[in-house]
């Protein structure tokens, strides 16, 4: 992957934005113990990465933004937790695959990329918890079901429905992020196109 200087700087800036969000908003959401804080953080980060794709519409750009954000997260204070780093990389990779397969930037691709990226936060405990820390998969499933039934106010007997609804909620949040990225990105492109241009050398 070879990018020009402008493309590198643009991706660096969006990576810094994502990293700044993870560091500041991540700490606040964690302190407040809000439900769906992981999904909200993933949505915000992916929105930024998807907007970056409109400015650098090349294969690998979204993954590059994710790698920059991961490195910034890795070296932030209190950033020794491997979970968020795996999360950022996986979300960026999923979004990159969808956007690369779609070819040029399109709204449905943005919605799908956002949806799949945020849905990863539901799957991630099964990967990091089971593979990395040796937790029992059943235990992780029960945690997920407990979270879903608590949030949606469903009884424990409706576990499959609660889990499906929980995953659906994540997909919806991600798609909403993708939609917001498309709308805001198009608005930004128009706004910046009409601004006085900085002369290129």
């Amino acid at each position: 992957m070879r990018f020009s200087t402008r493309e590198l700087v643009t991706m660096a800036v969006f990576g810094a934005l994502w990293g700044a969000l993870e560091i500041s908003l991540g700490a606040v959401l964690k302190a407040l113990h809000l439900p769906l804080s992981g999904a909200l953080l993933a949505t915000a980060g992916l929105t930024i990465a998807l907007i970056a794709r409109l400015f650098v519409p090349r294969v690998g750009a979204t993954l590059f933004v994710g790698v920059v954000a991961t490195i910034l997260k890795l070296f932030s204070i209190g950033g020794v937790l491997i979970g968020p780093m795996i999360g950022i990389l996986a979300e960026a990779l999923l979004a990159e695959v969808v956007l690369s397969l779609a070819g040029r930037p399109r709204r449905p691709a943005f919605l799908l990329a956002g949806a799949l990226g945020v849905a990863w936060t539901v799957v991630q405990p099964f990967v990091t918890g089971a593979l990395l820390f040796g937790r029992d998969v059943l235990e992780i499933w029960l945690d997920l079901v407990g979270q879903a039934t608590g949030l949606l106010g469903l009884p424990g007997s409706a576990a499959p429905l609660a889990a499906a609804a929980f995953a659906g909620l994540h997909l919806f949040l991600g798609a909403a992020g993708g939609w917001l990225a498309w709308q805001a990105g198009r608005q930004l492109s128009g706004r910046l196109a009409s601004a006085p241009a900085v002369p290129k050398l």
Partner: protein, 244 residues
């Protein structure tokens, strides 16, 4: 004459400690993660012992940080549910009656979590951000070192910009009356400011004749024990995973 991409055996020992190069630290980090993933549970304590010895040799400060209250509480939260695994109660501690299986599972989980925490902390403490970027550049992400440098320098400015924009919108009552539209304004304002900064930085880089195609990745720090550590690590991992 310096030849890039070739390991140089430098004097790696100093009084009081061993020194690894960047690839040595990376090998150790990847080895620890591989050991956590691949080592069967009955032999995990051996892998933990090897990690402990490596940490004592190369990054003892990470071991001390593991004993901080925050990490102990984190490990405790992760391992606590495992105590309730069903089985014959082994010991009664008040209202808790953990079984042998529960205690074993909790111990294994704590061991894994401790190994990962020490490995990540040791790696980030021993390898600079520039070296991480150089590793990624060699893996195909050309220009990552430059991008990470720009991102790091912009981080405080962007955080300030985000804070100011947020408070401005909040003081104007945007969040109360039209929260969704305000969020979009917030996003557009922050990103527009960031993109304009990007334009200025790109111009400055081009004015200084920077070109990612011509720039070579930063040289990696070499250590005398890097290759030895890599070979020994592979051997130990094979022994741990394959021995009966």
């Amino acid at each position: 004459m310096i030849r890039s991409g070739v390991w140089r055996a430098t004097a790696a020992t100093r009084a009081g400690g061993w020194r690894l190069g960047t690839t040595g630290h990376l090998s150790l980090f990847v080895w620890t993660l591989a050991a956590v993933f691949l080592t069967p549970a009955p032999r995990l304590w051996l892998a933990a012992l090897v990690c402990l010895l490596a940490a004592i040799a190369f990054y003892p400060a990470s071991l001390r940080r593991l004993l901080h209250r925050r990490w102990l509480i984190l490990i405790g939260f992760m391992a606590f549910p495992a105590l309730f695994l069903p089985g014959e109660p082994l010991v009664t501690l008040g209202v808790l009656s953990p079984s042998r299986e529960g205690l074993q599972s909790a111990a294994l989980m704590s061991l894994r979590a401790g190994m990962v925490l020490v490995a990540v902390d040791g790696f980030t403490a021993s390898v600079s951000i520039g070296e991480i970027a150089a590793l990624f550049e060699r893996a195909g992400l050309r220009g990552l070192g430059f991008a990470v440098g720009v991102a790091l320098n912009l981080l405080p400015i962007l955080r300030h910009s985000i804070t100011v924009t947020w408070h401005s919108l909040r003081m104007r009552g945007g969040l109360r009356r039209h929260p969704l539209r305000t969020l979009r304004f917030f996003l557009v304002t922050v990103v527009a400011g960031a993109v304009q900064r990007a334009e200025e930085i790109a111009l400055a880089a081009e004015a200084r004749a920077y070109s990612p195609g011509d720039a070579r990745p930063a040289p990696l720090r070499a250590g005398a024990y890097d290759r030895l550590l890599l070979a020994a690590g592979l051997l130990v991992l094979l022994v741990l995973c394959l021995s009966l």
